[in-house]
Structure formats: structure tokens, C-alpha cells
Symmetry: C2
């Protein structure tokens, strides 16, 4: 957080430093352009129509989203090119929602099984526009995704089910780690997996024009020639994890929770009115404690209860006074955003706007 | 979850087993009555007006809440006796909200410092009804709360600031643990801390009629004579942590997330469409993995992403089919409830009602 904290906030509240955030968005857009990549940022990190528009104006092609309801929220906000970056298994209700979405926007959905591809194809059949499919391949995160060589089989099932197969995607969730080597390795894994997937798709007579990779840690680490679309999310705000693993600098931290010191029970301990119901409770193995206090670098959030952060200080270090406000940079920014109704936009120490979290609760 | 899962749910969704939940509420009310305790359940676990009414009808005296906005939400829902069980540091806006609250309901607020007591007294001065204060004392959790011997000094400041001091409270957060001994020890700590606080308050010429303790693990473990009010929250639903530490039986689990198997990438692994944005990401040292799958007791949720639960199976154990639905009992129930807009109420395998999470987002 470059700017000072605004006075008189009702705490806890999430504040976004407008200038820092805009800088993060612009830099990623410029780097994507310079590298010849299509930028399709993951909107799950901000869930906010204002920020989506900023990304699109800066050159993003469309958005990645995690769920059908996130796609609906951004479609309502006017975004017309959306990729649901996960396999889905539509029931009757979700099938109808997907058809409605595809009527209004360019819709792309992930598939990672023959049965899932058929289910999706059945769900969206008869719409005005074809739904595009990207086959998800596993590049090492061991979450969803087929082995790259199986992309052809899944793609073929998708095509037979009436979907328009346009390529493959992967999520390098194993790219987090203290050492830059972890991210380099994950970037190589993505190139290899997407390269093999492209070959498998083409062998099956399918298109492989879109090869989509990347979360914030691996972006910018690919060699030219394979990956051609990137889906970073967290880079908009960054967080204590990104700072710890070296993918951002302290000056790139754009979001913090502002909290009040409600208790100072001992000289080496103070308690903030912010807990896991505002900050989330994601732990990061790379962050000391449960979040960062930029104004008190020696302090450690040793425990995070639902409504309290307990902060410890080394002997002799003075903490903030009872009643003062303190900024806390979350370990993982996507979870506090998901818990908020609005983001307070701050510039030069003043709240200049309040942005609703457009896709709040849109997790189905 | 005693009942079968309803068909055709849009997943992920939180379901509450009505009969199990009602049984939990009734049993706690009966035990409180039998032990001569005032029951003031903590509403942060359910945030739901329907459940609050059930608790009050069963004999609860009022509710405990965590924040001013939770108090406002339950006051709007008709609850007229509310205890904000935390110190607060009201700014001008919160001061006004507290005065408005106190005009409509019997309001009690925690205090744990001389300065905080004065601040609260100033904030609510001039209201139609006096605001009651309970001094928070630390019985071993090392969160908020003064040492019990300091209760007199804080109470005196509160009384001088115009608050009506009625006693003390403590939160035995250190009462979690595999062994029943941890809970017994914490219950003894509560008795000792509240006993000393009562003495300190009376020495200062103040009332100590309310001595409030207890979260779900220590309830029922006090000897007669000291603690006279209890504030359990989680007992309404229970969760994987309560099951693991032995404070409930499997038949007392009343809430689960229902998820769909969206991917089966390998014979020993399947992936559900539920992650930390629905289940929360609280980890429990007493729970294997990131939640329980009652229908697949040998399965372990090895990682929880924002929208995916990755589940591993031992070799040779068959998992659920792609597209089927599975119930997941959360590690800690308060966080998924906090993330939901509504709870689906299930009885005999059917959704019989949908209850809004009345105090959703009310965390300030």
C-alpha cells in the first residue's frame, strides 16, 4: 500500500490502492502485448466489474471465471467473452443457464473427460451460437485435467457432442514456491503439457489454436512458441504470498484489510477486529504468520480467529495504540475479496469510490 | 447427516438436516435448564433468524453475537436481548449504531480495557436504556480479555463511564484438543478466571451476577457454583472438528456441503466442485484432510482450492462416479455458513425450506 490509510473508516474494511492496482493491471497488459500473448485475466481474484472493465480497456481479450454464476455476473456487467476455466457437470438448471449465457456472450468452457464433454454438449445443444471447449490437461498440479496425450480423445468427444474445440488449457498450481526454480519448472511443465495436448488435438483432426496457461507465478516465464494465452488473477492486487515468493514487490501490494486495535492485553500482544470472516483463513507456507502488517514489520499475526487477529511483537518493540487503525495484507487475496460486499477505493489517502464485488457469492 | 441427499440440487450448496439440527438445539436447551445455566447461544455459527428463533423458543435467554452488524441483523429479525461478546472500539458511526441498537433491544457489550470502557460509555451516553457491560477476562486462550484480577479496574471504569456492569465473561479457546483432558482443564480455567473476576468486581463494589463462559467444547463440564451462563455456537450443526475431538457423535452432524464429482482424473483421485470459497479454508489439526466425506470414510480431501476439492482414495477403494453428488462435512462449520446466502433445509431426503443467512456479511 503506497498511500496512507484514510481516516474514519468503519473497520474491518477492504481498501484498494487505485494507483497501485491500475499500475499492476497496465503492466500485465503491456507485458502480454509485448510477448504476443492473449491476456484473459482470471476474474475470481477481484469479482469486480470495475476492475474487469479496466482490464478489458487495457487490452485483455476477455475474462476467465471459475463458475457459471461468475460468468453470469460478468455477462450482466457487459463482458461478452468469457471462459469458465474448469470442467462443469451441468444438471438441468445449469444446462439452461449455460444456454442462456451462450446466447449473449462468446462462451468457452473447460472439459476434462469424455463423459463430461458429452454432458456439456447435450446441455448447450440448440443454442444460437456454438459453445467453445478447451480441453484441460494436467501439467503437474494434480487437480483436474487429463494427461496431455489424452487431450485428443476428450477433444473428439467434445466435437462429436457439438462443441467447438479450440485448444487446451492447464493450471500450473505447482508453480508456487520460495525458489524461482519452482516457477521456472512449472512454466516448462506448462509448455510441455500444452505442446503435447496440441499435438494430440491435431492428430485427432481438431483445432489447437488456443493454448492457455498461467497463474500469476508462471506468467512471463514461457519461451516463445507454445503457450499463447495467459490467465493470471492475483496480479491485480498481489498479496503476502506473492511478495514472499518474489513475484511482486512491496510497492505492488494493492489491497489490504483495515482493522482497529480493539485490545492490548499485554505489552507484547495486541488484537485487531479482523479475523477469518474478513481475511479468509488460507495459510501460506511462505508467509510468516497469518498476513502482513506493513507498518509493523516485526509483528506476527500468530492466530486468526473468526473476528480477531492476535498479533505478537518481539520484546521491546512498540505496537500500535488501542483504537488506532492498521492495514493487514492478506496471505491470499482471493478469499478476502470473496468475503466482501464492496471494495473501498483509495487514492492519496482518501476514499474516492466504493466498488461493489459484482460476483460476490457467485460460487456455484 | 442422518437423511439421504436430495436429488437435483444445484451444487455446491449447504444443506441442513432439520431433524438433527432441531435435536442439537433441544438437547443443549434441556441440558442448560437441568444444570441451572442461562443459555445465550452464539449466533455467529448460524447467522440465521430461523435458527435463532428455534433457540429462543427452546429456552435460550438471548443471543451472543460477534459484531455490531450481527446484532443489527438479529435485532431486525426481532431478537430483543443481545450480547456483543467482544470488546469494541466505536468510531462515530459505530457509536450511533450502538445507540440505535440499545434503543430497541436489551444490549450488552464486552469491555477489556479502561480506555475501551470509557470509549464505549461515551459512545452510548444519552440513550433511552443503559447499556450493560461484561468485563472480558482471559482464562487461557490468550486472545482478548484482561487477567481476572484486573476485572475490578476495568469494571469501575465502565461504571464511571455510565455503563451498567453486570459481570464477566471468558472464551475458553484453548479447550480444543483430542483428549477430553484439554476440555476439562479449560473448564477449570474458566471457573477459576470467572471466580476471580467476580471477586474483583465485588471488591470494586460492582455487580457480578452474570459469569458467562463456554464454547461448545467446555459446555457441560463446569462444577456448580461459578459459571452461570453459556455461549456455545457450533453445537447447532457440529462439524468434523467436534466429531474428531469427541464433543458430538456422527449422528449429530447437521450441516454438509453437497458437491458434484466434476472430474475423475485417475483411479485414486476425484475432484468435487466445492472449494474454499464455499467450505472455508479453516484447517483442523484433529481432522484428517480438509473435511469429511461420510459416504466415503476412507477418502481424504488432500487439497482444497478455491473451487475444487481434490480427494484421494487408498488403492483398490472405489470412489463416486463422475457426475454424482457427495456430502462434505466441513472442518469448521462457522466459515461455510459465513460464505453462504442460504441454507437448504432437508428432511427425509427432500428440501423442505430455504433459510436465508440473515447476518450474511455482517462482520463489521
Amino acid at each position: 500500500m503506497a498511500t496512507q490509510l484514510p481516516e474514519g473508516l468503519a473497520t474491518p474494511a477492504l481498501v484498494v490502492d487505485l494507483d497501485v492496482m491500475t499500475g499492476n493491471v497496465t503492466r500485465m497488459a503491456e507485458a502480454s502485448r509485448a510477448g504476443g500473448f492473449t491476456l484473459r485475466p482470471h476474474a475470481k481474484s477481484h469479482k469486480c466489474a470495475h476492475i474487469a472493465r479496466l482490464q478489458l480497456r487495457s487490452g485483455a481479450r476477455g475474462l476467465s471465471v471459475a463458475t457459471i454464476s461468475e460468468a453470469e455476473a460478468f455477462a450482466r456487467a457487459g463482458v461478452d467473452d468469457l471462459f469458465i476455466a474448469s470442467p462443469v457437470w451441468p444438471d438441468a438448471g445449469k444446462a439452461q443457464r449455460l444456454r442462456r449465457l451462450a446466447d449473449g456472450v462468446a462462451l468457452r468452457v473447460g472439459v476434462d473427460s469424455v463423459a463430461g464433454a458429452r454432458r456439456l454438449g447435450d446441455a448447450v445443444r440448440g443454442g444460437a451460437r456454438p459453445v467453445e471447449a478447451l480441453v484441460e490437461v494436467d501439467s503437474g498440479a494434480r487437480r483436474t485435467g487429463v494427461p496431455p496425450q489424452a487431450a485428443g480423445e476428450v477433444g473428439q468427444a467434445a466435437a462429436e457432442a457439438g462443441l467447438r474445440v479450440v485448444g487446451a488449457f492447464t493450471f500450473p498450481g505447482h508453480g508456487y514456491g520460495h525458489a524461482p526454480e519452482a516457477r521456472e519448472r512449472a512454466a516448462r511443465d506448462e509448455e510441455r503439457a500444452l505442446g503435447e495436448a496440441a499435438e494430440a488435438l491435431r492428430d485427432a483432426g481438431l483445432e489447437a489454436g488456443v493454448l492457455s496457461g498461467g497463474s500469476t507465478p508462471t506468467v512471463g516465464r514461457w519461451r516463445p512458441g507454445t503457450v499463447n494465452e495467459l490467465r493470471p488473477g492475483v496480479y491485480v492486487f498481489n498479496d503476502a504470498t506473492q511478495l514472499a515468493i518474489g513475484t511482486c514487490a512491496a510497492g505492488d501490494l494493492a489491497l489490504a484489510a483495515v482493522a482497529t486495535v480493539i485490545s492490548v492485553p499485554a505489552p507484547d500482544r495486541f488484537v485487531l477486529d479482523v479475523g477469518s470472516k474478513v481475511l479468509g483463513s488460507d495459510r501460506s507456507p511462505w508467509v510468516r504468520g497469518r498476513g502482513l502488517l506493513p507498518a509493523f514489520p516485526e509483528a506476527t499475526i500468530t492466530s486468526l480467529w473468526e473476528h480477531h487477529a492476535v498479533v505478537r511483537l518481539p520484546a521491546g518493540v512498540r505496537g500500535p495504540a488501542l483504537g488506532s487503525t492498521v492495514a493487514v495484507v492478506p496471505s491470499h487475496v482471493c478469499t478476502p475479496v470473496n468475503l466482501a460486499d464492496e471494495l473501498l477505493v483509495v487514492q492519496h489517502g482518501e476514499v474516492v469510490d466504493r466498488w461493489p464485488v459484482t460476483a460476490r457469492g457467485a460460487n456455484t
